[in-house]
Structure formats: C-alpha cells, structure tokens
Amino acid sequence: MNRDLLGIRQLSTDEISDLIRRSNAYFPSLESPAPIPQSQILSGVTIANLFFENSTRTRTSFELAEKRLGATIATLSMQTSSLSKGESLLDTVEVITAMKIDCVVVRHSSAGVPLLLRRHLPQSIRIINAGDGAHEHPTQALLDAATLSEKLGTLAGKHIVIIGDILHSRVARSNMILLKKIGARVTVVAPESLMPPHIEEVFGVEAQHSLGKILSTADAVMSLRIQLERQSKTYFPSLADFRLRYGLIPSRLSECDAYLLHPGPVNRGVEIDDEGADTEKSLILRQVKRGVAMRMAILEWMFEK
C-alpha cells in the first residue's frame, strides 16, 4: 500500500493513534545513552528532501530519521537551486524524480505544494509534507500529540491553548485539526490581526483576543513563533508590546500549571521568558526528540509492505 502524509486532514483517528504508538516504540532509544540500533527497514529506499524554504530543525530531524532506518537520502536546498534561476516548479520536480526517487519530503513557502506534487508525480512516489505555507505541518502536529500524550494520557477532553501568530502558522492549523479529531478542547489566542477569519467555524475551536483567565484552565499551552520579519508589516506594534499582551511572562506562568510547548526556534523574551522555557513543565526539548521518533514512525508506516 502506498501511503502519503499530505496533511493531518487526510488521517483517520486510528491512523493518528497508530503513528503515536509506533513513535513510542522508537522514542526510548533516543532517550537512552546507549548507541541507537541501526534499522534496515528502509534499505534500498531513496528519499529526496526538497526544502524550498529554509529549515534547520525539521530538515535535520528528517535526515536523522531517514538515516536511522537505513535509507539513501539526498537533501536539496531548493532556495539556492535552479528554481531561483527561473526553472518552473514542475520541471524541477520532474528532474528530481527522473533520478529514481521513492519518496519526496517537501517543504515550501506556498500552501498546497504537496497536493500539487501529488497531482503530478507518479503514484509510486510517496510524498511527505514537511510544511507548506500556512497550510499544514503534519509531522509537527503528530510529534506534538505524541509529546502531550506522554504527559497527559488521552487528549480527549483536555484543554490545549495555542497562542500567537495563528494567521501565518501551519503548526497551528495542523494542531487544530489533529486535536479536534481526537476530541480535545482547543482555544486559540491572538490579536485579530493575526487570527484568520471564521476560524471558529472552520476549525471548531474557540478564539480569543486576550489571555484573560484561559491559562488557568489549560492542560497544555502551545506558544507559536513570531516571525521577526513580520514586524515590518503592521500586524502588531512591536515585539515588546506583543510580549506584554501575549508572552508567557512569569506573572502568567505562575497562574497556570500547564505543560508548555513551542515548535521552535523560540524567541526568548518574546513568546516565552527564560523562566518558562527552562522549567520542568517545558516540553520543548522533548518535542525535538519526539520529532525524530515520530518521523521514523511515519516512514515505517509509509513503507509498510
């Protein structure tokens, strides 16, 4: 069976639980000081990591997961490739697939590119969405769910609060879809300028413009990265002003007992102050470890015979 991972939207709840279970099996080896046993389940499989948009963490996480399963891999930083020399997206993709690839991991700044590739690539080539525009980042949402499940058990009925730039965030969208699918309560908090219109109706979440007392009822808080370049636009007055209203500053953290997640990289002193980022309630580094385990689980699932 040829499986893709285009988005959380295409996954069933059973598939989500299955992926979390599989990632739990890989996770202990990443926690242990002992050398990681090398698996050969992807021996003979060639994977191209196509990063049309910069990424360090996600790219490295994929590369490690692929290598640990024995795949042959090629990573292409497409920002510096022929695409910037005027080659069309489809030509680039055709050239790459002509090199006999079994799986494409794609990140692109424009929403919908993995679906576009699905329309044009042969069915035999599997596709993993490593983040497309503000649309989806399914591997991040899955690793977040695995991280949360470890601490909270079942997420059904749990209250997850997502704070920050919801408008431009694929992490927020994939997490909203996943968390609603498995029955969690989700509140998103952002100024109106960073909140996509009709979000409550489209995603079934609650939307708020201020934090108020929301944190006191949260089981977990997900803080999103504010992209510093957006400052040049007029979405919010300044990073300092944003921190005052939405930052996880000590006075707010002291009100809540929630676990803390962030997809990284963290802007310390904006989204989260040091007091929050470094406490035992912070799961930020655990997310990173979970990321490798989850991507191994996804690859295993995709290439299951």
Partner: protein
C-alpha cells in the same frame, strides 16, 4: 461569403424582433432579405432552429500580443473569440510594451485587419501602467482608442486618477478601472474568507476592491461628465456601490465575468492555480448579489477577462501562479447554463448584456438584424447539451477550470466582415 441561413430564431433586442422559423439571406456582408421560407439561389445552411442574435462583444480580452506571444497571439485570441460566439472584442493594454502609445495601437490594428472578429483596443490611462503620468490621450484617441485602463492594477494615486478623469473625459473615453487597493492585496493568492483560513493561503479581502470602486465613484462625481466603468466586478458591496451611483445619475457602469457568477472560492480546493483570479473568486453571497445586479440592470455587461497563461505559469504553487483564465470559449455556455436556463435572466436581457450594452459603452454603432444592415451575427444552439473538453479550446493556452464541465447551450457560429466561422 453569400449564404442563406435557414430556419433560425431571430432575437434582436434593438428592433424587438423575436421570431422562430426565419430565414436570413446575406450577400457581400449585408443582410439582403429576412422572412419565412425565403426563395434564394444562395447556398443554404439549415440552422435547425438555432438562435441568431446581433454579434456578441467582449469588452475585456487579453490578446497578449505584443510581447507574450507564448501565451496568446492576436490570431489565436481572435479565433478563440470567434469560437465562443464573439464578433467583436476589446483587447487590454497590459502587453509588453503596454498600449501606451499610438504605435502599439497601429501594430495591433494591422495584425487584426481582415479578421472576422472586430478588435477594439484599450490603451493605458497612465504611461506604461505605472500610475504616474498620463498616457498620450490625444494621440491614442486619434489612433482610434475608445477605452482606457491600467488593467491589471488600479491607479493607486487618487490625485492621478482625478487627472485621468479630467483629461480623459475630453475624448469621451470609457475609463475602466481594475479595482484593487494594492496595499491590502500584496502577496495574496485567493479571496479572504473561510476557504483561505482552511487552506492557509493569504487572503485578498473584498474590501480591497470596494475601496477603489467607492473612491473612483466619488472622484467621477466630483469631476463630473466622466464615463467610469468597473472591470470584472466581484463583490456584493461593489454591486451596491454601482447601483447607488447609477441612482444618482452618474455615468457609472460595470461588467462581470462568467467565472465570477459561476464559481466561488471553494474552487481553489479542486482547481488550484486555475482558480486563481484577480479579483479572486468570491463567496455564494457575492454571486447572489451579482445575479440581482444583472437582473436589475446595475451590471451592464458580461465580459470574459480572457487571460491566457502557459501551463507552467498556472500549474505551480498558488503564490507564484499567474492570475486569470481563458474565458472566450466558455462564456456563452456559462451564461446560458447559469443565467438563462435557470430562469434568472431572460434570453433577451442576456443578449443585451452580451451585445447591446457593451456596444453602447464602447460607443460603437448598434447592430440590427434587418434588411440592408451589416451581417454581424452570433449563432447559438440554445438547447445543446455538451461537455467542455480541451478539443473546444482555440486559444493558445488552456488555463481553465471548466474542463469536464457540462453545459447547456453552445455558440455554433459567427458571421462578420463578410466571413463566417462555423463550429461544424
């Protein structure tokens, strides 16, 4: 090309004639006789009851020549227009170089000479569409230009737009605006709404269109005596703004495209780049308002905004994909299927929207289906049920979301300039 058209339904909104079972005799490009069971020694063509209407005119076509001949040429674009039932078009000035001087006008005219399709030429309002200095309006008017527009973008500066109106009205130009407040739409890919929220694509809000429509109407009123036309109107509020301007007695008009009354932003989910337009596909409530605007006369005409683009420019990521679709081939089919056969618009009114009103706005002579008149005719099989496929495309490009769409009604031929084009 002398011919006897046998057994047709003539519907002419100007003369008020609506009669089936009619014959039309055409000699040397003129109608020489009309009646039932005409005796003629000319070759006869049995139209089997098809509609014969005054030739349709499309006020908004991108022929891409000069400069972008890989997308479309004057030859292929006019062939697409003829196949869609149009005997006349106005081509838009965002070519390379743009239509900002009389030489480009003459170039297009010379290439279009002798064509079955009459080609009117829209020139830019400002030099090279930069929105800074006025285009040479006297020279352009002398070259035969009737409409001006910086199509593809709005004139950003209200000051410049005021001067366009003040100077342009001396030539009785139709001043056509692509209404887009660009500071609100930079980097957007689709209509801002539920679907853009779901897909994570940056949204182009309706208000960005409404603001320019409102600004221009206020400027047109202030300047006075201006003929102002809103190109490819797409929002419910813009319909209302034009309605109010007309009620005030201003010379304000507007057009809608077939795709804006046929599709919503939901089409982006299935058609990707081929559903990327500027202005974008809007919502059901906007379509409903457009239908009411068509019914009550707020909307003057249907124009295609025929916008050919090469495959690689559309089959790419939504942020980079080019705006627009080809429209000539599907316009009549969409109009009949979505407006006439649904009972929303009468056939007579539909012909006004496609022929009478665009000619009025372009200040072209009205056509009459009567003895002694020029034979400038659009022939339509109203009942034909068919599926649109790539074999129906005559444009050089094939960027359309309507492949596979089932239609009722098809343009089957045009007669103009002593020539005929027949689908079969």
């Amino acid at each position: 090309m002398d011919i006897l058209l046998h057994n047709c339904r003539i519907l002419d909104p100007i003369t008020g004639l609506d009669e089936s079972g009619m014959d039309i005799e055409i000699k040397e490009g003129r109608i020489t006789a009309i009646g039932k069971n005409l005796k003629s020694n000319l070759a006869s063509r049995d139209l089997k009851g098809a509609l014969v209407a005054p030739g349709f005119f499309d006020m908004h076509v991108h022929l891409r020549e000069p400069g972008q001949e890989y997308k479309e040429t004057i030859e292929t674009g006019t062939r697409a227009a003829a196949s869609g039932g149009f005997t006349g078009i106005c081509c838009m000035p965002n070519t390379d170089p743009p239509v900002s001087d009389p030489f480009v006008v003459s170039y297009i005219k010379s290439k279009a000479e002798g064509n079955i399709v009459d080609v009117e030429i829209c020139a830019t309002m400002t030099k090279a569409r930069k929105g800074e200095t006025l285009a040479p309006m006297q020279a352009l008017s002398d070259a035969g230009v009737r409409m001006i527009s910086d199509d593809g973008s709005a004139v950003a500066s209200a000051e410049v737009m005021r001067r366009v109106f003040e100077y342009g009205k001396m030539f009785d130009f139709l001043c056509t605006e692509h209404c887009e407040e660009a500071t609100m739409t930079h980097g957007t890919a689709m209509h801002e709404g539920k679907i853009s929220t779901k897909l994570g694509l940056p949204g182009y809000p309706s208000v960005a269109e409404d603001i320019i429509v409102a600004r221009d109407i206020m400027l047109a009123e202030y300047v006075g005596g201006v003929r102002y036309h809103v190109a490819h109107l797409s929002t419910r509020n813009a319909v209302q703004l034009v309605r109010e301007a007309k009620a005030k007695g201003l010379s304000v008009s507007c057009e809608v495209t077939p795709h804006h009354f046929s599709l919503t932003d939901e089409a982006v989910e299935t058609h990707f780049g081929n559903a990327k337009m500027n202005p974008p596909l809007r919502e059901h409530v906007d379509i409903e308002a457009i239908i009411v605007g068509l019914q009550d006369g707020t909307i003057d005409c249907i124009s295609t905004d025929h916008a050919p683009h090469a495959h690689h420019e559309k089959e790419t990521d939504m942020m980079s994909a080019a705006y627009g679709i080809i429209g000539c081939e599907t316009a009549v089919a969409l109009g009949l299927t979505k407006l006439v056969h649904t009972g929303k618009i009468s056939l007579n009114h539909y012909i006004e929207l496609c022929s009478v009103n665009p000619r009025r706005l372009m200040k072209l002579p009205q056509l009459k289906i009567a003895e002694g008149e020029l034979a400038n005719l659009t022939i339509v099989n109203l009942e034909k049920e068919w599926e649109f496929t790539s074999s129906h495309i005559f444009s050089k490009s094939s960027n359309t979301p309507f492949i596979g769409e089932k239609f009722k009604g098809q343009a089957i031929g045009v007669i103009n300039n002593n020539q005929a084009w027949w689908r079969e």
